[in-house]
Every structure is written in C-alpha cells, then in structure tokens.
C-alpha cells in the first residue's frame, strides 16, 4: 500500500501578501481557511482535522473555536521552520487515506514581516540539547537564516564553480515571473542581472536580491479523499506522493557536521521517496516549486531532486530553462523571492493553481508539479498532479 493518489487538495484559500496586514494572525488564518472551505464547497462543520507547522503561532484550539468547529479528531504540526512546508500535506494525506479524517485543513498564517522578522536574528534558545546545539553557533555570530544557509552555499560554490551571477539568474527568473503575477509583492517589478550583482551583501555569499521577501499573509488548503474530492466543487489536485526527510547526521539550521555540505542530502532523501511513491520521475514533472528562502537553494535542489547531475544546475538554469516556456518552469509565481514568503505554503497554492489551469503564468497542460520545502533544515516535499 502506498499513499499515491489516495488524497487530494479539494480547496484553496489565501489572503493578500503584504508588509503589514493590519490584523491578527488568527484573523489571517481564518480568512484563508474559510476561503478554502468555500472553494471546496464545504463548511467548517465538515472539518475534522487541522495541520500546520510548529512555527505557526495559531493553535488549532483558537481556530477551531472561531470556526465554530465540531469534533476535531486529528491535529499535528510539522517541525523545523520552512522545512515543514510540505509536511502538512503528508500528515493530512495520511489522515484521510487511513479513514481517520474526512476533511483536513492545512494552514500557515503569519505577520512575519510586521511583527517578528526572522531575518533580524534568533531569540532565546530552547532549554534542551537542541537549544545548546543552536547556541554553539549563535554565540559565534551565526544568528540569521542568511548566515546559516550562507555557510552551505559557500561550500556549494567551491565544489561546483557556481557563482553569484548564476544565483542572480535564479533571482532574475523569479522576478520575471513575479512581474506578471498580480498576487506578487513584486508585481510589475522585474530586475536585471546587473541589479542583482549591484545589490548589497547580506551575508557573503548571499546578496539582498538572493533573499526571500519577508511577508504577512496566510494560505490554507482543504484535503479530502480523492474519491470525495471528485464530488466537490473543484477539480481535485491529487497528492501523488509526500514525504519528510532527515538524512544521517542531519541537524537543523547548523547542519555542518555531515561530510558533504555541497549537496542537499535531506532533499535527495525526500526526492527518492517522492519518485518511489508516485512512480514518476523528474522527466514527468511539468513545473517545480523549489523552496527559495535564498535563491541559490534552487540550484542545490535541482541537483538533489534529480533534474540534473551534481554541479550542473548552473548550466541547467541557463537560457531561460527555468522560466515559463523553458524545459522546467520553476517558481512560476515568482517564488518567495518575488511573490511573498509565506513559509512555502504560497508555493503549494501556486502548484494547485497551475494544475487547475488557473495560474497567472500558466504552464500549458501542466499535469504534475513538484513542491518542496526549505533546505539546511530537515525538509519535506510532495508531488501533486491531475488526471
């Protein structure tokens, strides 16, 4: 038995993405969730499961109360920051595939830009062994996500010959997609490679225009069995596979104690599981939403998920190959560099729009999409598709 195709995304909802939402995170979550339920043609009384990230500040109890919910039978949170982006899909799919739940809501809502920017630096560590581990690094001055990930990117450059200009091509492609996506923070604002190369260093080797756009906003999904989704309001988007991944000796944020930091082996682990579960391969994928907390992670994931060999991503992205009309359109919404940073769940929303055929930058005839989560932390991914 596998999970392949047993569950589907039946509803999608989201708020606008901004620098200051002007309302509470609970309200953002509720706006997205009620929109997703309406999209599916379900009511809050139908919801019997809720899943999110541990990083989300909205507890299920608050949302369940405000929704006037009935019997909630399953709730789970995926850990490790943006590495959790696809974990709610896995948890929800398992819950409906096994009959534990009939309809599960996945949500991520945050005033991350206006209330607590991750990029400002880490706060007090947890009183635990993992807190002590983190503090070994924060005391040495690795105190922001850019610093944490920059250490991996520098080694990647050393081993593959990839340059800052190659990373700039990822940013240019993302901003090109964002420029024609009305949902995007950078709608109508493309950049050139020169703009990227002139942008200031945040943490060398990462420039300002390599960094995602910290944002306020919310996204929600409704997951049901595929059988039930076929009777609901929208074309079902099937969860063909979903997985989380921690590979040997992997830690979170400061995973520097594996032998080889130039390869995202946690993402490769997720990839192997996704291809195995789904029976698909990279050649079957029509578009990819590759988590871009920082643009260079797109190159590392192209290699880890098997779209090209190690060290070849810098060539793979050339000539518009990851743009609309290219061999593998990537982050067609503009990614988190160009649309917004809603911790990856806005990327899942884009994949759903693409597979429904309703995206602003539509990939014609898209049938299968890969969606991924942050690297440099334990990660997750999913393959979504339509019949």
């Amino acid at each position: 038995m596998t999970l392949a195709g047993k569950a589907a995304i039946a509803g999608l909802g989201y708020t606008e993405f901004s620098v200051a939402s002007g309302r509470s995170e609970v309200q953002l979550a509720l706006e997205a969730i009620t929109a997703a339920l309406a999209d599916a043609g379900l009511s809050s009384r139908d919801v019997d499961g809720m899943v999110t990230y541990t990083a989300d500040k909205n507890d299920e109890t608050d949302l369940h109360y405000n929704l006037g919910g009935q019997d909630l039978k399953f709730f789970a949170k995926g850990d490790y920051g943006g590495g959790a982006a696809c974990a709610p899909l896995l948890h929800a799919a398992m819950a409906v595939a096994t009959g534990v739940c009939q309809a599960v809501v996945c949500y991520r809502a945050m005033n991350e830009r206006s209330a607590y920017r991750f990029g400002a630096g880490t706060g007090a560590p947890r009183a635990s062994s993992s807190g002590s581990f983190a503090q070994l690094h924060t005391l040495q001055g690795i105190r922001t996500p850019a610093a944490s990930i920059g250490m991996l990117v520098r080694r990647y450059m050393h081993e593959t010959g990839a340059t800052s200009a190659d990373f700039g091509q990822v940013a240019v492609s993302a901003r090109k997609h964002a420029s024609t996506n009305p949902l995007a923070r950078f709608h109508g604002k493309p950049i050139t490679l020169e703009d990227h190369q002139a942008s200031r260093m945040i943490v060398d080797p990462l420039r300002l225009l390599d960094c995602c756009q910290e944002s306020d906003g919310a996204v929600a999904l409704v997951i049901t069995s595929t059988e039930r989704a076929r009777d609901l309001a929208q074309k079902p988007v099937l969860i063909r596979s979903a997985s989380q991944g921690i590979s040997p000796r992997h830690f979170s944020m400061y995973s520097y104690y594996r032998s080889d930091l130039a390869f995202a082996d946690d993402a490769a682990l997720v990839g192997r599981e996704l291809w195995h579960q789904s029976g698909l391969s990279p050649a079957d994928i029509d578009l990819a939403i590759l988590y871009d907390h920082f643009g260079p992670s797109v190159l590392m994931q192209l290699e880890a998920y098997g779209f090209c060999a190690r060290g070849e991503a810098k060539d793979f992205i050339k000539g518009g190959n990851i743009e609309l009309g290219g061999g593998l359109p990537v982050n067609t919404n503009g990614g988190q560099v160009g649309e917004a940073y809603i911790h990856g769940m806005n990327g899942i929303a884009e994949a759903v729009r693409q597979l429904r055929g309703t995206a602003s930058n539509q990939v014609v005839g898209a049938r299968n999409a890969l969606v991924t989560a942050g690297i440099g932390v334990p990660t997750s991914g999913a393959v979504l598709g339509v019949d």
């Binding site: 503090q135 922001t144 520098r154």
Partner: protein, 137 residues
C-alpha cells in the same frame, strides 16, 4: 524592528556541560568513546557508532583547515564587528568545529586556509573559542 542582543548564556544542559566547562579552562573538548575509541562530532550521551555510554574528554590540539565560511554584513549583531567572518573547519583530529574567525580581513579568508584556536573572554567573564589564521610554519 529590534535586533536581538547577545543571547542568554549557554544552556548548561547535561550533555553539553563538559564542552562549556572545558571552554572556561580554555580548552576545546571532544568526546572519545571508551569502547570503539571514535571521536564524536558533536556532544551527546551515546556513541552513534557503537552505542556505548562510556566516554572520555579529549582536548583538541587547535589546528584545523577551513571547510566553509561566511562573511556576515547585515544586520549588525553585537558584540561582533561588521563585517565579521565565521568558519567551519575540519580539525586535525577529524572533527568539525564552527567558530568566528578573528584577525582575518573578509578578502583574506579562503576555503583550505589553516586556522588555530584563540580564546576570548566576553563582558560577563564567559570564555568562548574563536579561530585565528594559523601562523606561517
């Protein structure tokens, strides 16, 4: 937007206490398994290789080779100067160690460069290890 100040002092959780206590004596300690004799890359109560709980602390000699590095520019994170260099090094004993790299201009740091250990005393008296460029042989 507020930047976090210096984080609270290290949490002396049981499994990390030996490392932090070693630093106060100006030593970087690693655990060596009493049974299979392997060095551990990170603090932990059990040997990941043979599952023995018996271990002895060994002091690192201090020599290492830079495996990767960053140069932090933004935002400012006191007490570090801006910009400042942080490196991950392969220590000569075969374990990795992460530390700020002092006395090294951002343009001078490179993968493969040799580093040594230095110990810095913070405002409240806490002693922490840093790297410094190794003296020419």
């Amino acid at each position: 937007m507020t930047h976090s100040a210096v984080p609270p002092r290290p949490l002396m959780t049981e499994d990390y206490a030996y490392f932090l206590e070693g630093l106060q004596r100006r030593e970087v300690l690693v655990q060596k398994c009493d049974d299979c004799k392997r060095l551990r890359p990170l603090p932990g109560p059990m040997c990941p290789h043979c599952h023995s709980f018996a271990w002895t602390a060994q002091t690192l000699g201090g020599g290492g080779t830079v495996y990767s590095y960053i140069v932090h520019h933004h935002p400012p994170i006191p007490p570090f100067a801006t910009p400042h260099v942080v490196a991950v090094a392969d220590m000569d004993e075969g374990v990795r160690l992460t530390a700020a790299l002092d006395d090294c201009a951002p343009d001078d740091v490179a993968i493969g460069m040799r580093v040594g250990l230095a110990f810095v005393t913070e405002e409240d008296g806490f002693v922490l290890h840093h790297f410094v460029p190794a003296a020419a042989p």
